[in-house]
């Protein structure tokens, strides 16, 4: 690898050993502090698995039931631990099965190192058995990738992979290793990568831009903060809180920013975006200064860009210069790590309060409560609602559980109604919207934080996209709580069909199997709830269980999630019904 000349390294083990490439893979992982990895074996990665067998007291391999599950489990692990998640697969179909998880990690900035086996180097390009150009396939969805064809290249490639995955704006990387490289020998010495010439992970924060931002905020009449996952990735929760409290600025969050500030905080005014809260969406188009922190103005957040916050001066804090002016033109860009830039901002902000402006949020919340929330969490109609399930979970968990949600109506309900009192509590597929994410991600999350309650909220559709991971749960005894909100529909798509396609429910109705029997078949405790009077008790029982637990709640078939900003509409045209 020519790159070695341009990379900076730091020696961690200076004694050189003569070992095989596959042993070098394991020793590199151990040197990077990896204690668990998720994967699935096959011909082209067998030498590495053989080594894993020898090192099983030092590094725990979790056999998922599908490589997509391995990638999502590694994501769940990474999202809750803040460490790099590791997934491994064989060549060809094993490698391609990782791709959805890698793409998901890329758009949600999740640090992953994926290791794939590859056919022997003399077979490359010959359409050999289980050969795919995984480096080519994964290029657009990785932060970096490379192919290793010599044993001697393995330590440097993995060192670089871990460095790139975790530094700056994190992301997934893929290292593809040919079988001959795994088998042949090298003089192994592990040196951590501490820099790559062409890569500057964290841009320097310019104090002048911070001052300019502070001046705008200090003089604003109706300032408004929207924060995203950049706060959590930068571990800047405390700094965010200080900024908000000192300036008295109402603050809202994007889906991936959820939980950085407790739900109960008086200046936390809710979620923005398509199914976000009424007030923050409406008032985006009324604020005079919009302060975006570690968020990327996704179209699910902004709606129509031509009408998004046009009246406001925009300040954008981000670690990634490519995000500045990508979607929304900013007046002041503050580059850098949120932990540092927010700390600098807090220094120069005036103590302030914005009571009458904050009152506007409260007034709109009241409207949303009356028109939407009340019926969601305290329904009077007969059918169970998704919202009341979340409310019960909040009660039992005291808002401390990590909520891992899949994709669909239940996801939006989970994000809207779950209490998030601890950071890193909302693990969901934001940017890619990957159905099938939650079940395997919950496994990884639970393994990274065994002391926390991990509750997966999944729809009947998404559950069946990776239902095989029940096997992984059973085998590893990961004590995840699985809640399937069964509406016998691909609910979110059905909602769109109802609202925008004249109720033509094309291929969205689902005839489901007996989920309880399936869970029991995997030796997982299971219960189904059909009536309101049984809900509280069932949730209590689930949360009290020390083991994994499956709870199916049969909810109203045709409930909708509101508020809603219809696709392409302005955020202030948010609908309450």
């Amino acid at each position: 690898m020519k790159t070695q000349t341009a990379d900076k390294t730091k020696e961690v083990a200076n004694k050189t050993e003569h070992i095989t490439g596959s042993e070098a893979v394991i020793k590199s992982l151990i040197a990077e502090g990896v204690d668990v990895l998720y994967g699935y074996p096959g011909g082209a990665i067998m030498p590495v698995y053989d080594e894993l067998f020898k090192f099983q007291d030092q590094i725990h391999h979790v056999l998922t039931r599908h490589e997509q599950g391995a990638a999502h489990a590694a994501q769940g692990y990474a999202r809750i631990s803040g460490k790099v998640g590791v997934a491994m697969a064989t060549s060809g179909p094993g490698a391609t099965n990782l791709i959805t998880g890698i793409a998901d990690a890329q758009i949600d900035s999740t640090p992953l190192v994926c290791i794939t086996g590859q056919v022997a180097s003399h077979l490359l390009g010959s359409d050999a058995f289980q050969e795919t150009d995984i480096v080519g396939i994964s290029t657009p969805v990785t932060k970096w990738n490379c192919q290793v064809t010599k044993a001697s290249e393995i330590p440097a490639a993995l060192a670089k992979a871990f460095y790139i995955a975790r530094s700056g704006r994190p992301g997934p990387v893929l290292v593809d290793i040919t079988k001959d490289a795994q088998i042949s020998e090298l003089d192994f010495k592990y040196e951590k990568c501490v820099g790559v010439r062409s890569y500057k992970p964290i841009p320097k924060t310019n104090p002048d831009s911070v001052k300019a931002a502070a001046e705008l905020i200090n003089n604003a009449k109706k300032p408004f903060i929207v924060w995203g996952q950049g706060v959590i990735l930068g571990e800047a929760e405390a700094e965010l809180k200080t900024v908000i409290e000192k300036s008295g600025v109402p603050a809202a969050w994007t889906i991936l920013g959820a939980s950085a500030l407790p739900t109960s905080h008086p200046l936390n005014v809710g979620m923005v975006g398509m199914h976000g809260n009424y007030a923050p969406n409406k008032l985006t188009n009324e604020c005079d200064v919009l302060i975006a922190i570690g968020m990327r103005f996704d179209d699910r957040v902004t709606g129509d860009l031509n009408t998004y916050a046009k009246q406001a001066k925009v300040i954008h804090f981000d670690i990634d210069p490519a995000e500045i002016d990508k979607n929304v033109k900013t007046d002041i860009a503050v580059l850098g790590n949120s932990k540092e830039s927010l700390a600098m901002l807090a220094e120069v902000l005036n103590e302030n309060s914005h009571d009458s402006w904050l009152q506007k949020f409260k007034d709109l919340y009241k409207i949303e409560y009356e028109k939407v929330i009340k019926d969601d969490i305290e329904p009077t109609k007969e059918g169970l609602t998704m919202g009341e399930v979340l409310k019960q979970i909040n009660i039992e968990s005291e808002g401390k559980a990590a909520i891992v949600s899949d994709v669909g109506q239940h996801q939006m309900i989970a994000c809207r109604y779950a209490d998030f009192n601890v950071t890193k509590s909302n693990i969901t597929s934001g940017g890619l919207g990957t159905m099938g994410f939650a079940l395997p991600a919950a496994i990884g999350a639970k393994m990274a934080a065994p002391e926390r309650e991990v509750v997966a909220i999944i729809g009947d559709g998404g559950y069946q996209m990776n239902i095989q991971e029940l096997g992984t749960i059973f085998q590893t005894k990961a004590a995840v709580k699985i809640v399937v909100l069964n509406n016998e529909f691909l609910g979110m798509v059905r909602q769109w069909q109802q609202l925008f396609f004249d109720k033509r429910y094309a291929s969205t109705e689902m005839t489901n199997p007996d989920f309880v029997t399936i869970a029991k078949g995997y030796h997982i405790q299971a219960k189904r709830v059909e009536k309101r009077e049984d809900l509280a008790e069932a949730v209590k029982e689930m949360m009290a269980s020390k083991e994994s637990y499956f709870l199916e709640v049969c909810v109203e078939k045709e409930d909708n999630v509101f508020p809603m900003v219809p696709s392409g509409a302005s955020v202030s045209d948010i609908r309450l019904s």
Binding site: M1, W144, R197, S198
Partner: protein, 177 residues
């Protein structure tokens, strides 16, 4: 916002690694931008490659593209320039039947007037080479076409900027860190 579409030359300094061409071209592909020409070669700095990419886009898009390119781990720096800010040229070759050189005196005039170089002559064919702006090359091709061209090939644009590109400083700064 109706911004003008202009010709931009995008210069990218990169590490000399396999796969970068893919990464960089994918950025254009994702945004549905057609690449007019692409040249890659080593640069003035040892171990550093340079891409010269010509595209017709708006300046706003050029800015965004450059940022996305720089975001790639192994891209060192990317710049965009208008035609006015660069000195640029393309190069081309024509393979023509040797008999024409003697039978068609007009060809000799064309060669002289167009500042074209004869690379080789043998019994069967001779080869002409010319560097210049696209329209000069096109004019030459039109002139020669009447007599018959056995093969024609044109390179992508190569360009240097009138102003300094501070990529060396970037590298020095890193190496001293």
């Amino acid at each position: 916002m109706n911004e003008d579409i202009k010709t931009f030359t995008i210069s990218v300094y990169t590490e000399n690694n396999i796969g970068l061409l893919n990464r960089i071209s994918a950025i254009f592909q994702r945004r549905h931008i057609n690449i007019e020409s692409l040249t890659t070669s080593r640069s003035e700095i040892d171990g550093v490659n340079r891409f010269v990419i010509v595209v017709n886009i708006t300046e706003t898009n050029a800015k965004k593209i450059v940022k996305q390119i720089e975001k790639q781990v192994e891209a060192i720096r990317a710049y965009y320039h208008t035609d006015d800010e660069t000195i640029f040229t393309e190069s081309c070759m024509f393979k023509i039947k040797s008999s024409l050189l003697f039978d068609e005196p007009q060809i000799q005039n064309i060669i002289k007037e167009s500042d074209t170089r004869i690379v080789t002559v043998n019994r069967e064919f001779f080869v002409l080479e010319k560097s210049g702006r696209r329209h000069e090359i096109e004019a030459l091709r039109r002139d020669l076409n009447v007599f018959g061209i056995m093969q024609f090939v044109r390179s992508g644009r190569i360009a240097v900027t009138k102003d300094e590109m501070k990529v060396t400083e970037v590298l020095t700064a890193f190496n001293n860190q």
